[in-house]
């Protein structure tokens, strides 16, 4: 049974309605673009009228160190989310695990088709190892040992979706958040939601539909901006 504490609900209710100017995913993309631009920047060359000896330095090609730094900037947020939110690794230890994951990535010795998928799977692997090494098994999510997500077949897509939906919730009205929390997180029926919100069954159903519809609209806006 998934852990569903009243504390979580209270915390969710306290989420402010403030507009978030720069979203988490935007920040990842912005960082990656900035880094990519930096690594692709070529040294300026004056127009030559006489033969110019090619400079030995600087080298325009990104080095492995540049590449790994770019990857780190692109994916750190997602990896931190995986470690801290899915595996409840303390934030202070999560950064060490991220470093371990990137060191492993550097040692693969082969080209990796999908670096993000690889890094997310490695982060799950490192987080599981972290808890095993510290001998702790209680209070961990019940899907602690899960591998491939049965719906999406892709762990990294699932985590990216969860990070984005987390942002979506910040834009929703408190009543909408509460409705979605009751229905989807707590698994309450429309009738239960109606009783909790002191309204009719029909209106609760309408509310659930409208709130999910609104969530999709916000999701679409966020992801369209990102693309």
């Amino acid at each position: 049974m998934r852990l569903k504490t009243a504390n979580v609900r209270r915390s969710a209710d306290r989420v402010s309605e403030r507009k978030v100017a720069v979203l988490e995913q935007n920040a990842i993309d912005a960082a990656s673009n900035a880094s990519r631009q930096a690594s692709e920047k070529k040294p300026a060359r004056p127009a030559a009228t006489t033969p110019v000896i090619e400079p030995l330095i600087p080298n325009a090609q990104p080095t492995p160190a540049d590449d790994v730094e770019t990857l780190y900037l692109q994916h750190r947020s997602l990896l931190l989310y995986v470690a801290c939110r899915k595996f409840r690794v303390p934030e202070t230890d999560a950064e060490n695990l991220i470093q371990e994951v990137f060191l492993s990535f550097l040692q693969t010795g082969t080209s990796i088709d999908k670096p993000r998928a690889w890094l997310v799977a490695a982060m799950c692997n490192a987080s599981r190892h972290y808890w095993r090494a510290s001998g702790r098994t209680e209070s961990l999510p019940e899907d602690f040992n899960d591998h491939t997500d049965p719906d999406s077949h892709s762990l990294n897509d699932a985590f990216t979706m969860r990070m984005t939906v987390r942002q979506v919730l910040k834009y929703l009205q408190p009543r909408c958040r509460e409705t979605l929390w009751l229905h989807y997180f707590e698994g309450r029926s429309a009738g239960d939601v109606a009783r909790e919100l002191q309204t009719t069954h029909r209106y609760a159903e309408k509310l659930i539909h409208n709130c999910l519809k609104r969530a999709r609209e916000i999701y679409k806006t966020i992801t369209t901006v990102n693309r």
Binding site: S11, H147, M161, V168, F185
Partner: protein
Amino acid sequence: MRAEHHYDDESLIALLESGDDFSRDPHLTSCASCSEVATTLRQIAGALKEEDVWDPRELDETPCTETMSALRGYADEMSREDTFAAAHLQTLLAGPRDAWMSNLHAHPEYRTAGMVRSLIAATDHAIDTMPPDAVAIISLATEIADHLPASAYSTDTVAKLRGAAWRERAFALFYVGSYTEAEEAICASERHFSDCAVNEWDLGRADIVHALVNRGLDRDADAIVVARTAADRLRDFGDTQRYVSAVTIQAQMRMKAFDYAGALNLMLPVEQELSDRLSADAHARLLSNIAICQRGVGDVDGAIQSSRSAIFLFETLNVPTEVVRARANVTTLLREAGRIAEAVEELHAVRAGFERLAMAFDAAIVDLVLAEIYLSEGKYDEVESLCHQLIEYFKNAGVPSGPRAMTALAFAAEAAQQRSLTPELVHHVQRYIRSLPSQPMLLFAPPPE
């Protein structure tokens, strides 16, 4: 023309709430835009069930400068070591392979992680050209890795290098048929990886080698179990090519047990889901295996289609031997499907292909298949003419066992002339010619009366 009616959000949410399977809805299966909205709604609803989505605590988004600095330092050190190793690899591998270990003992400065990486890369190349060299090269890598001081490198570097070197050693030993030694090597690899914090991808790769070794040792059940574990691990890491290799090993084990339906159940979903992400080579081989299984379950038309897709991919890869062999398989399938005219047309093309590739015996077999078809149609003259053409071909081909093949063909030509040639006789001659490359001294004898 009928106007297309799309679902609105309301209807899609109602469908989601009803718990119906989207994949069974006729409109959603054919309408990309509605399907995309439905998938997004389902994914959002799924995410809303997760506790972390509702956690209000913010994570520190600031990249850690210490981590970046450590990663840069590690990458730079790796580059330095790799450059040094690349410059000295030729010296280490100078002379006959028996001298390589002495070369290493004479140069203790070569004992670096970078040299282990370079040797692993060199093994990969040598496997395709000179497998015993590959075994000798990877032995140097394990020798260096086993004696590297773990304290000189960060965290799991040495354990991972040892694991990788022993895994490659296991594969090289498997490749040359030393299965027992290969098993010892792969167990050593797994032991090294088991202590690492991030190890599942490496263990997945080791599982593939372990499955191959188990297959070589005829431990079919173990091979299936290990290949399944490999597939799970590699799929998590998005390693499509290796994931497909793991699935293919499982399928081949089922094919070995004549469980073609089981093998198809493994391979068809992979082909449908991942075909656009596979390399042309891996995709072509997967399709060829699928074709064998489709034939095994009696789906000859499906087998023809899969084979033709594989042929197309082999053509794009410019691998003429595989193209002609795959086309030869198609001719067998066409005959089984009763599409004789198509089979004959294809056989002529296949014969020309084998002739271009100077594959004399394969060309002869194709002609004998044609002879069999002509015989079934009572065309004795065509059969006789084919046999004479083949005799001429072997006269000019200059293959060592050509005269023996000519004796068998002359026998078939004479029987055709006398109208006493039967399909059994043609098969007999076919079987004899097929066996000549491996038994060149075998004499032809007519079948017993």
